[in-house]
């Protein structure tokens, strides 16, 4: 049956309600099993030795003493993970990041690993590994790394995307460009122009669960990996590629996941654990310490962004331009490109141009973090937009409303929008009571908008109907924040049965077809699409079974309210058959009843949000408290509103942390100074007020219920919303995130000096 994903307005019974989540009891009783909560018989403890240098050639590694230590069962280095990338730069980068080959590229880069019978032996063994380094000059700052005299990290990096192609290597991996119109002509028409440079510091996803896995390689070529991941199928593929295993022989089981936010879409130590297990011939459990998580797993880019925006006195933006420089760690990614794409996505612009520069530096390899690359760009653009509105004397919301993109606008990154939520979220902000609430002394209000694409991608779902008519739905997208509840709701809706009769589970890689990972806000969007498709297939089967039971034509049977109903004058006296009725007879009508779906979910539906933030700043210390915060975002359709609100609140608070205090601090030696939660300051409970939310529902035309991804957009506006609020509270503009107390005080001092 061909699946029609288009949106149809309909009365919904389950979708939009707030039932208890299916995994709740396990999680409040401590029974849910996360990455580190799994053990195998005979398992060893794995640990990784990491470079203390930001940039160093590995001259020699001597593992003999460690190998000789009693209780050590395996020691691996790059030699045990030979390069099988066949010239594929992306695969090689992953491999090199898992285990440094010729050079350590950042403080914390893995250089060797051990598997031993317990943690103390493993710790002792690490100390016995001798690594001789030749320390090289390093660079961590994005602007410094782009300078002509910067130490070059990788002699094979020649900037792509520039004409003519450069003849000398540099730290600039690529250039990307987006936009349309003629910005110079546009600026010529402007009455007022704001031109600024903004900087943001590197932050970490900060999930509370460190990376953890148990790896087991058997002598027959089969292998198992239990791991906390956002993408078991992707981990399987990458690990199989790096280790030369058959994909089908490596079974990856995703544990409950203690937060990921993008950081668990990339492999880190998992291939190392598999290599250790292969060498030792025993299962290996490898759990990163918090320090390792900060030093060696995915932070975001640090950025330096130039923005120039011009507008007429009436508030029309005539041209907008941005140059965005993003660090990517030692290996090129597409972070600047994403920043360049998202920069001006909220606005309908005649002339717009963005240029992204991807810059390699001696910092850990950048990983996706919730709407990756968008928050920094939004900080720069939304700060400049705010300043421009002030300058032309227009209300900041009205100015944005005047320039907001809408249905039919050509986006700054190319596509033409369908129905979108930027205008409605701005209108909602304008009329929100928060906007007109009085402010106290030293308080200021800021607002900002944000955009995220959302992704769909490859998805596969199995729906099985039990003999009693209850339903299990097996999905391959990991549940990072309540998606099992949402998918159960959707399945119940489509089948017309109660929520309680559906149980959603996350399948391992051997039990289900390939699924892309839970990222790009795709979990609920794409798996619900597949769940609806699978349910429709199961309904078709049930109608056929009902036809057999009744001995009438399937064409005379409709599916309504969870029942097969016979239609037509001759069948009037047949009582409808419930799912349970049909399931009970399954053995006599053709066997078990199931519905499957494999699809590529297209049209995830872009998402917009507008945030309002009040802060109070102590002008004598620069101390800043968020005193009120409101998130307004388009969800398309909120399947389980509690968890949609939760995504809005969680993203907003991560953004607030980024805006105020979170940052990687490097010493002059290029070593990370704050690899722990004491000095890497994520928001704590007492830092925050309640986070108000307002869910708008502008249906996504490409989903049967109108669902859009909701997980990421909420982290995009806060950096600018907070910075704008601070600027309004103390009347000095902030250009550098985080707007930590020392930066605020320094800005105030500079202003006082004139």
């Amino acid at each position: 049956m061909t699946f029609d994903p288009s949106y149809k307005e309909q009365g919904l019974k389950s979708v939009g309600t707030r039932p208890l989540r299916p995994d709740g009891v396990d999680k409040v009783t401590g029974r849910a099993r996360y990455g580190a909560d799994f053990n195998m018989p005979g398992q060893l403890v794995g640990r990784v030795l990491r470079s203390p240098h930001a940039h160093a050639r590995i001259v020699r590694i001597d593992t003999s003493q460690a190998e000789a230590l009693k209780g050590v069962k395996a020691v691996v280095t790059a030699a045990d993970l030979p390069d099988q990338s066949n010239g594929d730069a992306a695969t090689f980068a992953v491999l090199d990041n898992c285990m440094a080959r010729k050079k350590a590229m950042y403080d914390g880069h893995a250089v060797a690993a051990v598997a031993a019978i317990d943690a103390s032996v493993a710790k002792a063994a690490l100390k016995l590994i001798v690594v001789e380094y030749e320390v090289l000059p390093h660079v961590v700052d994005v602007d410094v790394a782009m300078a002509a005299d910067a130490p070059v990290l990788d002699e094979t990096v020649f900037t792509t995307g520039v004409e003519p192609a450069p003849k000398t290597p540099s730290n600039v991996a690529n250039r990307s460009e987006f936009g349309h119109g003629d910005v110079e002509a546009g600026f010529a028409k402007a009455d007022m122009i704001v031109e600024r440079n903004y900087k943001t510091e590197q932050t970490h996803q900060g999930y509370i669960e460190p990376h953890a896995c148990v790896a087991n390689c058997n002598s027959d070529g089969t292998a198992d990996l239990w791991v906390c991941t956002q993408g078991p199928f992707v981990y399987r593929q990458v690990c199989a590629d790096l280790l030369g295993l058959d994909v089908s022989k490596l079974r990856v089981t995703s544990s409950e996941i203690g937060g990921g936010f993008g950081g668990k879409t990339h492999v880190w130590a998992e291939p190392v654990a598999l290599a250790l297990s292969r060498k030792a011939g025993r299962p290996v459990k490898l759990v990163m310490t918090r320090e390792e998580v900060f030093r060696a797993s995915g932070p975001t880019s640090a950025t330096s962004i130039d923005v120039k925006i011009g507008a007429k006195k009436d508030g029309t933006i005539t041209a907008a331009e941005a140059t965005l420089r993003y660090t990517s760690g030692p290996y090129a990614g597409m972070w600047a490109e994403l920043g360049a794409m998202t920069s001006f996505a909220c606005y309908d612009l005649e002339n717009v141009k963005t240029v992204g520069w991807e810059v390699v530096v001696n910092r850990p390899k950048v990983a996706a973090y919730r709407a990756p690359s968008a928050p920094m760009a939004a900080f720069a653009i939304e700060s400049a937009v705010d300043e421009l509105a002030h300058k032309i004397g227009m209300d900041a919301v009205d100015f944005r409303i005047k320039n907001a993109a809408s249905d039919g606008s050509k986006s700054s990154y190319g596509p033409v929008y369908g129905p979108i939520g930027i205008g409605p979220t701005l209108e909602a902000a304008k009329s929100h009571p928060h906007m007109s609430a009085p402010l106290g002394e030293n308080q200021g209000r800021g607002m900002a908008c944000g955009f995220w694409f959302n992704f769909g991608g490859q998805t596969c779902v199995d729906l099985n109907i039990g003999a009693d008519g209850t339903v299990t739905i097996a999905v391959g997208t990991v549940d990072v924040g309540g998606s099992r509840a949402s998918l159960s709701l959707i399945t119940a809706e489509e089948l017309g049965i109660p929520y309680e009769n559906v149980k959603a589970i996350v399948a391992d890689t051997s039990s289900l077809g390939y699924n892309d990972m839970t990222d790009g806000s795709r979990g609920t969007f794409s798996s619900s699409m597949a769940a609806i498709s699978a349910a429709r297939n199961a309904i078709q089967v049930m109608r056929e079974r009902a036809a057999t039971m009744w001995d009438i034509s399937v064409d005379d049977i409709i599916w309504e309210d969870g029942h097969a109903k016979a239609v037509g004058a001759t069948h009037d006296n047949l009582a409808p058959l419930s799912v349970a009725d049909i399931a009970a007879e399954a053995g006599n009508t053709g066997g078990p009843i199931a519905g499957h779906s494999e699809l590529v979910a297209d049209g995830a539906g872009v998402s917009f949000g507008t945030h309002i933030c009040d802060v109070e700043v102590d002008p004598e210390t620069g101390s800043t408290r968020v005193v009120r915060y409101t998130v307004i975002q388009d969800a398309g359709k909120a399947v389980h509103p509690d968890y949609v609100e939760g995504q809005y609140q969680g993203g907003a608070v991560q953004g607030i942390g980024w805006a105020l205090n979170e940052e990687y601090v490097y010493g002059a030696d290029g070593r990370l100074q704050n690899p722990g939660f004491l000095d890497y300051r994520i928001p704590v409970c007492s830092d925050l007020p309640m986070i108000d939310t307002q869910i708008l529902e502008i249906p996504n035309p490409n989903h049967p219920y109108g669902v859009r991804g909701v997980g990421e957009t909420s982290i995009v506006p806060p950096l600018a919303a907070v910075a704008n609020a601070v600027s309004n509270a103390v009347d000095v503009r902030m250009f550098h995130i985080p707007v930590s107390p020392p930066r605020i005080l320094a800005a105030l001092n500079a202003q006082a000096k004139g």
């Binding site: 009891v25 401590g30 999930y207 460190p210 203690g258 937060g259 991560q654 928001p683």
Partner: protein, 160 residues
Amino acid sequence: MTSIAVSTTINGDDVEFLCNADETLLDVLRNRLGLMGAKEGCGTGDCGACSTIMDGRVVCSCLVLGAETQGREIETIEGMSEGQDLHPLQAKFIEHAALQCGICTPGFLMAAKALLAAHPDPSEEEIRFWLAGNLCRCTGYDKIVRAVQGAAAEMRGAKT
């Protein structure tokens, strides 16, 4: 390394175990006793995911040596519900969607339990400061605070 024999009480039951001198209570619970409800988010007292209650005070079990628990009374998340009956805090956490990934939840529940034992009617500010040593990266804390408020109200109601 010679092991130390420790007798203690965990969730009301007598428990004996052997541990090394440098093993923490968290190591003992997770690796020796199979009580894996307490989570290790940092191992250094910063995240609260490993919170347990020792002699009535909430502690980070990653900052307590196993050997120190000799003769003490320990409460862990595994002892919070009575049979099939969830503690009001547990029920309210589910009801208020106060967990997303849930890794922080056992720690929050233990800390909140100690809070409500000491302050049955805490203000929002008291709740927020008491729970400041429990990090949650998913929820933004809003629904957690509401769940604790809800449980406090219910528990006060149950007493009168």
